[in-house]
């Protein structure tokens, strides 16, 4: 092997994108690659890119499924452009070549490039390389299908079954290319196909054949990718939706309350409901309601009845829930509303990511109707912010909207498994049996939180509802002055949550020419861009928000130390708009993009450079 090693390309981090037909098993291939890399000590971020919601006819661009893995040192995003693209058929090439770095490599399954497949993919000629000007890339045309057939020809398996493992050939090639060990994947085969040893063997053979092919073919220059500096601990891969579901369950455990989730399926939030439905072993109750309104109102009922209640949805579902959120506001019941943002308006781009539900979360209800709003910023910290949202809801007796997005929801990251003993106990203000003269709207003078008398508790019988309530007693009141008092109390109660949230952190210097502001799912890309510029000694820092209402206590102090501020969002400037209304004294530049896609760090770097250069 030595003769090849000296040609190794050394890189800090690498992006590889597997793409093929929906049936080609690209999600599994990508996951196996990413797991192996994680186990070998790389930092990892992945992003699956499913076809639009209906399965398109085989072989067409609409039917292409992709899975991108970014690995190496200091990984914060799944990467902008691929160093290596694997394209299992012409449609995959058509769809993904534009996501490959100039000079990057494209591995294609030459056997799949038949006239028919080329036509299905929308190529007009038999020569896609020329037609789409792909000469800019290093094209590695491998006979993946036929080599797979060759490898397994003596197993007696039928051709269809044989071809189903061609993705393992491609994976083997990539393992060679990036010097990955085969053992983890082999172990996976052993576990997964325990009952059919022949399949274990076949998969191993093909994987190995792919690896050997890479080794034997001169075209492939292997890479050496830097390892990450990884803290000691036990890790797992997790995506945002699972992390969110688990964060909610963790909060229920720490609050010692049963978890109830009333929900209705909607992309890209449904997986949270799926996950919670499985977790009956932890006593989770899921109620798949007839619609989103039934989802949130059943949750409000469960909250009234003493459970920790949540509802999960995406944009259009949040719109449907808006009236009921108002009920939770006025009755001051704990409730977490998870909104996994997607492209809008209306049904919009349901499988794509966007940050355009922020103003809806803040203002999308009748009347003065304040709720707390929190946003997660990485797939794995969805766990943390789901836990935080729950803690705030339960301890402050308020609905909390947790915003994630399609990018976080489906993206994965290795996550150092926390120990629940390190998490704080949650203390909901439950009124005890025997409380004398219980008044449902009597408040804790410090945080203005009312106490929660749970039906079934003798002596605390009381009524709540959606009409304006008399201060303290909670009876219906039409008294004008009381309405002002209660309106102010509700606002102030949410404002005082600030005491329980951490200060805003600045990444970089506390004073600089430019402060980049972001919130939610753009964290990884903003961080990468800002780091890159800091490495070039540019005067730039990042302040990324997870707490949106209320904003961290030190926000004004942070903002005032910067010459310029730019707010970067995957929408038309909603957070910028909100900041203007809260801190009108600062000037906010904007960088916005509404394409259903995450930022690329490259475009961010370009834009921030421009701002830094402008006088």
């Amino acid at each position: 092997m030595t003769n090849k090693i000296d040609k190794v390309i050394e890189l800090d981090h690498v992006v590889i994108r597997f793409s093929g037909d929906s049936g080609d098993g690209m999600q599994l291939t990508g996951t196996l690659f990413s797991d192996t890399s994680a186990l070998m000590g790389s930092g990892i971020a992945t992003f699956p890119d499913y076809p639009a919601e209906i399965r398109a006819p085989q072989g067409t661009v609409g039917g292409v499924s992709g899975f991108q893995v970014h690995f190496g040192y200091d990984i914060n995003t799944p990467g902008d452009y691929a160093d290596v693209l694997v394209a299992m058929n012409p449609a995959a090439l058509k769809a993904n070549a534009k996501w490959t770095k100039l000079g990057g490599s494209i591995i294609i399954d030459r056997d799949a490039f038949t006239a028919k497949n080329l036509e299905k993919a929308g190529y007009k000629t038999q020569d896609p390389i020329t037609e789409d000007n792909l000469g800019r890339f290093n094209i590695i045309s491998a006979p993946i299908s036929s080599m797979t057939q060759e490898t397994l020809k003596e197993t007696g398996m039928d051709n269809k079954t044989i071809l189903r493992s061609k993705n393992m050939f491609a994976l083997g090639m990539c393992y060679y290319l990036f010097n990955r060990e085969l053992t983890f994947t082999e172990q996976f085969f052993e576990k997964k196909f325990k009952k059919v040893p022949a399949v274990i063997e076949a998969n191993k053979m093909v994987l190995k054949a792919g690896f050997n092919y890479g080794y034997n073919v001169q075209e492939l220059t292997p890479y050496k990718v830097a390892a990450a500096e990884i803290a000691h601990g036990t890790y797992r891969n997790i995506n945002g939706n699972t992390a969110t579901a688990w964060g909610l369950v963790a909060a229920a455990e720490k609050a010692n309350l049963p978890l109830f989730c009333g929900s209705y399926p909607i992309t890209p939030a449904t997986d949270i409901l799926h996950e919670l439905s499985y977790l009956k072993n932890l006593g989770v109750k899921t109620f798949q309601a007839e619609d989103e309104i039934g989802g949130i109102t059943s949750a409000i009922g469960a909250s009234f009845a003493g459970s920790f209640a949540v509802t999960t949805t995406s944009g259009p579902g949040l719109a449907l829930k808006s009236e009921a959120i108002g009920l939770a506001v006025i009755t001051e019941l704990p409730l977490v509303i998870v909104n996994v943002q997607r492209g809008g308006p209306s049904t919009g781009l349901p499988t794509k990511t966007e940050q355009s539900d922020l103003l809806q979360a803040l203002y999308g209800r009748n009347g003065e109707s304040p709720v707390a709003v929190i946003a997660a910023s990485t797939p794995s910290n969805c766990f943390h912010y789901a836990f935080e949202a729950s803690k705030i809801a339960l301890e402050h007796m308020t609905p909390v909207i947790l915003l994630t997005d399609g990018f976080l929801a489906n993206g994965t990251q290795p996550w150092r498994i926390p120990d629940m003993d390190d998490y704080p106990t949650i203390h909901p203000p439950i009124a005890k049996e025997g409380t004398e003269n219980y008044k449902p709207y009597q408040r804790n003078p410090e945080n203005l939180v009312r106490s929660w008398a749970i039906p079934g508790t003798p002596g605390l019988e009381h009524r709540i509802g959606g009409l304006e309530k008399m201060d303290k007693t909670g009876t219906v009141s039409y008294v004008p002055e009381n309405h002002q008092v209660m309106t102010d109390l509700r606002e102030e109660k949410v404002a005082r949550i600030v005491a329980d949230i951490p200060d805003l952190e600045v990444i970089g210097n506390d004073e600089a020419d430019l402060l980049v502001i972001g919130w939610g799912g753009t964290y990884g890309h903003l961080l990468t861009a800002v780091h890159d510029l800091q490495k070039e000694a540019k005067s730039i820092s990042l302040a990324h928000f997870n707490y949106i209402k209320p904003l961290p206590a030190n926000t004004r102090d942070v903002l005032k130390k910067f010459k310029k501020i730019v707010v970067a969002e995957i929408n038309n400037g909603q957070f910028a708009s909100y900041l203007r209304s809260v801190f009108p004294e600062f000037t906010y530049l904007q960088y916005n993009k509404v394409m259903g896609l995450p930022f690329t760090s490259i475009e961010l770097v370009d834009n921030f450079n421009k701002i830094l250069e402008e006088k």
Partner: protein, 337 residues
């Protein structure tokens, strides 16, 4: 579990002034509910009374139990969540005909389908009372109301039929003024396991006065009401001499002693029959040819949503090695650095 509870209807009166119009049928229903609850042997704190929005939906404020006056149409959904989360409660939903069948229609049918063990009282005054007199999904066709100044053009629902169509297992009907019957039904509904729908014909003195007058009319009510009781014959009338028989696939009113009809010919009410056909016919009876059917018309045992859920949780818990969050976090594929 709980010690024997001795309560009277006064225990169920809250300190709030009752604000319905003088003469409104809701007053009588409130009394009936308070009296019936006192008889149920359930401690007061286990009752949760949940309503939407409407005149009728003010109900929880007047009950000295746990109560929730929610938003228009969502009482049934909120109650579904409350009962599923906390099966220990005795959950009662109060719905107007608009609240329950217009904006709340979807929750209503799905509640029936799921058969959650709670009780829903539908106060049917065939009008939107609180918003001052628009037609509702139960308003008779042709009625002039504020939104139908020239008469409605919509066929009304018959709430009982909708229950049957939605896989409902329990349907009873009473009239506001018949407080004894109402109480009897409420106690039966309480004892029934599964969703119990109780329609109460209610008079709105302001916007639909006398809408049930044909049946409640003092002079003729015995001839126009048939009170059904499981296992008893379907006999009614001032002289207790009228009864129902089957004529092919249709019901027929006959007079005992006339045309050779005897007591033995009269149908016996079977509320427990799963097949809904006869219940359907009973629910559908209308004057002047037929009496209105009151009482527990249908009461069929079936599996109950929240019990199945608890059972599923128990069985999964029993077989899963994952007992808490720390276990879950460490389950599946992990690696250590």
């Amino acid at each position: 579990m709980a010690a024997e509870v001795k309560l009277t209807f006064k225990d169920f009166k809250s300190d709030q002034e009752v604000r319905w119009c003088a003469g409104c049928g809701d007053h009588a229903i409130l009394n009936s509910v308070q009296k019936a609850m006192a008889e149920m042997g359930v401690p007061k704190e286990k009752f949760a009374v949940i309503a939407g929005i409407g005149c009728s939906s003010r109900f929880p404020y007047y009950m000295n139990t746990y109560g929730f006056h929610t938003i228009h149409g969502r009482g049934a959904a909120i109650a579904s969540g409350a009962k599923t989360a906390n099966p220990d409660l005795s959950v009662w939903v109060v719905n107007g005909d608009g609240d329950g069948l217009a904006i709340g229609g979807n929750h209503f049918i799905h509640l029936n389908r799921r058969n959650i063990n709670l009780n829903l009282l539908l106060f049917n005054n065939e009008i939107y009372g609180l918003t001052k007199g628009q037609y509702s999904p139960t308003t008779k066709e042709g009625t002039k109301t504020k939104t139908s100044p020239f008469g409605t053009i919509e066929h009304p629902f018959n709430p009982g039929e909708l229950v049957l169509g939605a896989q409902g297992k329990y349907f009873a009907r009473s009239i506001d003024v018949n407080m004894k019957l109402t109480q009897e039904i409420l106690i039966d509904a309480h004892n029934h396991k599964g969703t119990s729908i109780v329609e109460i014909l209610q008079n709105c003195v302001i916007f639909s006065d006398n809408v049930h007058g044909f049946y409640t009319d003092k002079e003729n009510k015995l001839d126009r009401q048939l009170v059904l009781r499981h296992g008893e014959k379907m006999i009614f009338g001032t002289n207790n001499d009228k009864g129902l028989v089957l004529d092919g696939l249709k019901l027929k009113v006959v007079t005992i002693g006339e045309n050779g009809v005897t007591d033995d010919d009269i149908l016996v009410h079977d509320a427990h029959e799963e097949s809904p056909f006869l219940h359907w016919m009973l629910i559908n009876m209308k004057g002047p040819d037929f009496p209105v059917a009151l009482g527990v018309i249908r009461s069929v045992e079936d599996t109950v949503y929240e019990e199945k859920l608890e059972a599923q949780i128990a069985s999964v818990k029993a077989s899963s090695p994952i007992k808490n969050m720390n276990d879950l976090l460490r389950s599946g594929s992990t690696w250590t650095v």
